[in-house]
């Protein structure tokens, strides 16, 4: 009876978290796995490693994140965003350093999750996020350019044909993934006609065994750390950004919540373990997650199924995968690029405020120039902070009234007094007006920082030099505390009006 009971309990709990949508999750997992093959290969090529590195990574990350992640229904695997960061590392130091950097990136991500830093995402505004996805789409597209330069017209024809299949085949049926049809048709054509195009097999080694546990072959010293740390930090940051952004998109699409800190730790665990299994770092994928949701995937099972199907496919179809012509992959990656790009943000350029547009465009530009999404996001965040400070500083007014005997003046200050409004604050006083009494009424103001405290101090001193008695009134508690702590003119010396 006890065993029966335990099983019953386990079943109930599994049902809630894993098996509430079995049919949808399994079918979506299969669709995603089929789409992961070309992506994993394409991203390996971007990073400059053998396709098997990306395929192993995708299998390992998808399976692990299904258990450790904080956002059921989201797909994680090898991604373009992390691949572009590692190009120079691979070129200068080789694959083993990439694996070591992957492990370190994972550990950094675990640290972020454990320290519960997921809340920092709130400083990344909508405009920055839009810039992020647009930049990502452009990066994915740009990565296809080497495959489209110095090639014959056959390649262009095949890419065009592939795109036509991807977008027109669904008009016949929505039961079969059209990217799969694109791969099958183009592979058959190139084999039958003996077309002279590059194939996946030309791009490097494909998996021939199950992934095995190996320590990255790098010397464990400070020099290694110095080499891999900058890459690992960038990968960790970009990976978490894309993962949390994708989690937000899946939250919105499915109208269900996610656990951000668990997602951070989960991404970290997945990357750490993946590095030991010969895979490159990855993160959540916007395009694949959308495909998953569109295909009916909602639970953890969908990502697990995608990973297991992918493993099965590359083990069984290894030789066949080598024959896939590169133009088929390029067509699929162009589709991913198109689907990732936020077209509504282009339309919105005309209606959105200039500052939002500048933030979005600066984010994109930062990424395109540096090929580092983290740099773009940093630029975007800083710029949105500056714009916000500027807007708030404009909500600042000073009005004044003279007493009946024309000897005393009250300045009423309204708004946020901080570094950006301190200059306006100083300009609003007429220090040369000879008065006996000056009152600064801060009832509707808030003193935020040292710049503000110093500005108030300076104003008081200047009035006092002109021989006036100065009174500060109406400061709220927080402002008063700050003034007492930091101001040369403490409350008692000038009188706080109490």
């Amino acid at each position: 009876m006890a065993f029966h009971d335990a099983r019953q309990w386990a079943l109930r709990s599994l049902r809630e978290t894993w098996f509430f949508n079995v049919r949808g999750d399994l079918l979506a997992g299969l669709v995603v796995a089929l789409a992961l093959i070309p992506e994993a290969i394409a991203f390996s090529i971007i990073a400059g490693v053998d396709p098997k590195v990306g395929l192993y990574a995708s299998v390992s990350i998808a399976i692990l994140i299904a258990f450790t992640g904080g956002r059921p229904g989201m797909i994680s695997a090898a991604t373009a965003a992390t691949a572009v960061l590692m190009i120079t590392l691979v070129a200068d130091h080789g694959l083993q350093y990439l694996l070591a950097a992957t492990v370190l990136a994972g550990l950094l991500q675990i640290g972020v999750g454990v320290l519960r830093l997921g809340f920092l995402m709130r400083f990344v505004s909508r405009s920055v996020l839009t810039g992020f996805v647009n930049a990502l789409a452009i990066l994915i597209f740009m990565a296809q350019i080497p495959e489209l330069t110095g090639v014959t017209w056959v390649t262009y024809a095949m890419v065009a044909g592939g795109l036509a299949i991807i977008y027109l085949f669904p008009k016949l049926t929505t039961a079969v993934p059209s990217p799969l049809v694109c791969i099958l048709v183009l592979s058959a054509l190139s084999l039958l006609l003996g077309l002279d195009v590059r194939t996946v097999g030309d791009m490097g080694a494909l998996p021939d065994t199950l992934p095995v546990f190996l320590l990255p072959d790098v010397p464990l010293n400070l020099e290694t750390l110095q080499i891999i740390f900058p890459y690992a930090a960038a990968v960790a940051a970009v990976g978490l950004l894309e993962s949390l952004l994708t989690a937000q998109i899946v939250d919105d699409l499915t109208d269900t919540p996610s656990d951000r800190n668990r997602e951070c730790v989960g991404q970290g665990v997945a990357n750490t373990v993946t590095g030991f299994f010969g895979g490159m770092a990855g993160c959540a994928m916007i395009g694949q997650s959308m495909i998953n949701v569109k295909s009916g995937g909602r639970g953890r099972l969908s990502c697990l199924a995608a990973g297991l199907f992918l493993l099965f496919l590359i083990m069984v179809l290894g030789d066949a995968v080598a024959m896939i012509p590169m133009p088929a992959l390029v067509a699929i990656m162009i589709m991913v690029s198109i689907g990732t790009f936020s077209w509504s943000s282009v339309k919105a350029l005309r209606t959105y405020p200039l500052s939002s547009n500048l933030v979005m465009i600066a984010t994109v530009a930062g990424v395109i120039v540096t090929h580092n999404l983290a740099v773009g996001v940093l630029i975007g965040v800083i710029l949105s902070g500056v714009f916000f400070a500027w807007k708030v500083s404009n909500l600042f007014t000073v009005t004044s009234s003279l007493s009946d005997d024309e000897r005393a003046r009250t300045y009423a200050i309204e708004g946020q007094l901080f570094f950006a409004s301190a200059e306006d604050f100083m300009k609003s006083f007429d220090f040369r007006e000879a008065l006996t009494e000056v009152t600064l009424d801060l009832s509707n103001a808030h003193v935020w920082d040292i710049s503000a405290v110093q500005a108030v101090d300076l104003a008081v001193i200047k009035f006092e030099r002109e021989g006036a008695t100065v009174t500060l009134v109406g400061m709220n508690k927080a402002s008063e505390t700050l003034m007492d702590r930091l101001g040369a003119k403490d409350g008692d010396a000038v009188g706080t009006g109490h």
Partner: protein, 287 residues
């Protein structure tokens, strides 16, 4: 806190849950909130295996899912409102006082958290509408609700009969202590014969505790008997209930960790499942 909350769904237990809740309401004079939770995770979206991403893929997908959810939610809400209206009429006819019907979306546990603060007692059915995976299994929500709740939970049986004889499974634990003080303080059990039943090894300490509990209940005006019956607790309790024709079982619930439950199974779930009468569950941290 002069209200109780009954969670109903569209299962065969709806009427019985309402009856049980109405009994508590009319006996104690507490107002009754009838709550129906529509779980939005159960909606199925239209399937599309095209696996491609077109221009504006995200907004298109968002539109599709939102439209589908809106339609599914509207249907669920209308169905839910009908269930609630019927239950409310039924409860009022059965003598419940100050009945309010509340329709909510989301997870059952969220609703439990929201309602329990203003509630003295929660009433749920032995099986919920979604617990369709095997006969005899409890609703997937019951254990989660009882573990999450900070109030006594009355688990309604398939059919309602006005309780006249309640058996209190007395193990001397903190949970059953809560049960004794609740019963002594409340008006729900006036006129209900109470049996304090100890199953298991008889010892002096437990006997003293049981006598003290019996004394407390007698002072509160209840008719009380104490029974010691050795043996395997579950079997003894079930046997005693069957033999005496008792029509309510009161016991402590889920005294063990989830891990232990996973390994050796939960007595509570097994008891609730096996006996055919309503069960009132108390946990030590219940207010």
């Amino acid at each position: 806190m002069t209200r109780i909350t009954a969670f109903i769904d569209a299962s065969a237990y709806t009427e019985s849950v309402t009856d049980h809740a109405a009994w508590v309401s009319r006996t104690t004079g507490y107002g009754l909130d009838l709550v129906h939770v529509v779980d939005h995770r159960r909606r199925t979206a239209p399937l599309d295996f095209t696996g491609n991403l077109a221009l504006g893929a995200r907004s298109t997908l968002m539109d599709t899912l939102t439209k589908h959810d809106a339609e599914a939610s509207r249907l669920a809400r209308e169905a839910g409102a009908a269930v609630l209206d019927a239950a409310k009429a039924h409860a009022e006819a059965a003598g419940a006082v100050d009945v309010h019907a509340k329709l909510r979306t989301g997870e059952m546990l969220e609703a439990v958290k929201d309602f329990e603060t203003g509630s003295r007692l929660l009433v749920v059915g032995k099986r919920g509408g979604h617990a369709d995976f095997a006969a005899g299994h409890l609703g997937s929500n019951l254990e989660r609700v009882v573990r999450a709740a900070h109030r006594p939970v009355l688990v309604a049986s398939r059919a309602f009969t006005q309780p006249s004889h309640a058996v209190i499974a007395f193990d001397g634990g903190a949970s059953v202590g809560k049960a004794i003080s609740h019963i002594a303080d409340g008006a729900l059990f006036s006129g209900v014969k109470l049996t304090l039943l100890n199953a298991g090894r008889r010892d002096d300490g437990l006997e003293r505790e049981m006598d003290a509990a019996a004394k407390l209940l007698k002072e509160a005006g209840h008719q009380v008997e104490t029974v010691f019956a050795g043996g395997e607790p579950e079997k003894v309790i079930l046997g005693h209930v069957a033999d005496t024709g008792a029509d309510l079982l009161i016991m402590g619930a889920y005294g063990h960790s989830r891990i232990r439950t996973l390994i050796i199974g939960s007595t509570t779930t097994e008891m609730v499942r096996s006996c055919r009468i309503p069960v009132m569950l108390f946990r030590p941290d219940m207010g």
